[in-house]
Symmetry: C2
Subunit: 286 residues, 2 copies
Amino acid sequence: MEEKLMLGKTVAEHLTDNIKVKVEDLKSKNINPKLAILKLGSRKEDDAYQRGAISRCEKCGIETEIVELSEQASQEEYIEALDKLNKDNSIHGILCFRPLPKHIDEEVVKYHIAENKDVDCFSPINFAKLMSNDETGFAPCTPMAVIETLKFYKVDLQGKNICVLGRSMVVGKPLSMLLLNEDASVTICHSKTKDLNQISSNADIIVSCMGRAKMIDSSYIGTDSIAVDVGINFDKNGKMCGDINLDDVMDKVSMITPVPRGIGAVTSTILAQNTLKACMQKNNIK
Amino acid sequence: MEEKLMLGKTVAEHLTDNIKVKVEDLKSKNINPKLAILKLGSRKEDDAYQRGAISRCEKCGIETEIVELSEQASQEEYIEALDKLNKDNSIHGILCFRPLPKHIDEEVVKYHIAENKDVDCFSPINFAKLMSNDETGFAPCTPMAVIETLKFYKVDLQGKNICVLGRSMVVGKPLSMLLLNEDASVTICHSKTKDLNQISSNADIIVSCMGRAKMIDSSYIGTDSIAVDVGINFDKNGKMCGDINLDDVMDKVSMITPVPRGIGAVTSTILAQNTLKACMQKNNIK
């Protein structure tokens, strides 16, 4: 069954090779792409992602800088730090770790990040660009990881019926826009959807981003369909799992991304890719 | 069959009554809601819409002002005129007639309209607000006319499977976001969709905004489904018609909006409604 798995590591390595070549070319022109990560205090979940991002950027030849404010930093201090990174010419990409603590209003802060450094689509401007298929914008890393994974495994998206399970601003909605931009027909489902398994089992491809451990069993899956699992959950035994019950659907799908070893392994590479893109745009290099 | 028709006029009159009461209340506080229409030269299509908008605003008690630049006005002159309206405290809503002539770059201009006066969702900020279900934003008039029509005719949207035919930035995409915000499950189809009639005939509600005269016959329609026709086309005889072949689907649908007399008759009322909203927001009135 291993041959049905779409493995994130393979995708990440392929993308990294491409990024590396372009970064080396930039460096030969004395341009050094650099990503800044802005965070408040230290959260366990962030630490793992941070390690992954730094290590991936390193592999790509992209520098990183961590700007860590105290957990008690005020909104003004946060915006000030963000502004400083916006203006810093040595920084090409900015990643703001989220969710932010409650005393900081994300709805205010998101208008402050420079859209041309916004490598994980925090700014409303980049959301609008996603919607209008304006390729100067930056798609958020996780949805873009889904697209790159499907493309790497040569999944044709044009005209395909794709069911997206979940409508969050982090994954479901932006992913739906990206899939539309690839000429897929997209059905967006969510917690209020009726007859979900009937809809999803009619799709050529399903992408689950609901965050419900192993909810998707074979009744949700069409025969020979392709399944992408964006969920990162933990089962009763504390073991990481996706939204999809892999064992139950394995016979039915033609390809599937596992959790772990799936989409999550691609995300940080997209961050590096977006930082490279920001750096190239800034230097008018195509 | 007349009882199956969802008539735009009825919806517009109902909305107008509500707007009028609120406008009168504002006027009693010496606040005069006012809409500005910015246009370049005079196009026949715009003239009809302009007349409709002015007359509807009048019925609502909303003032209007037409700012007409010469057709040859430069992009700088256009932005200057827009800026002037942005800063004019007597103006609460701004409608930019589009499409703009080719020498003016819409992709540049759209960043200049003040988002809090942008009553037809020209600004990317309002697109992003639509996506994040931020109700301080302004939805574009035509998609919002669809929502208000369905609500007026007591069509429950929550959990319904709705097929949107068309993915334009003017109707299809924003409408899909609005329907998602109403807890519908939304399938977005377009010219690249395969087996379109199979998908659309499985939906509880279809909304067509493709701009293809009478393309949608009964094979695209599910029994007892609801059909909304946003298309404004002209048939071989030069007669206005929608995307849907009304005669062919009439027996199958439970309700339908005709063309003319449907959604088109509601749009200008939404413009008035959005202008009222902008005025109330500016004056911190809920």
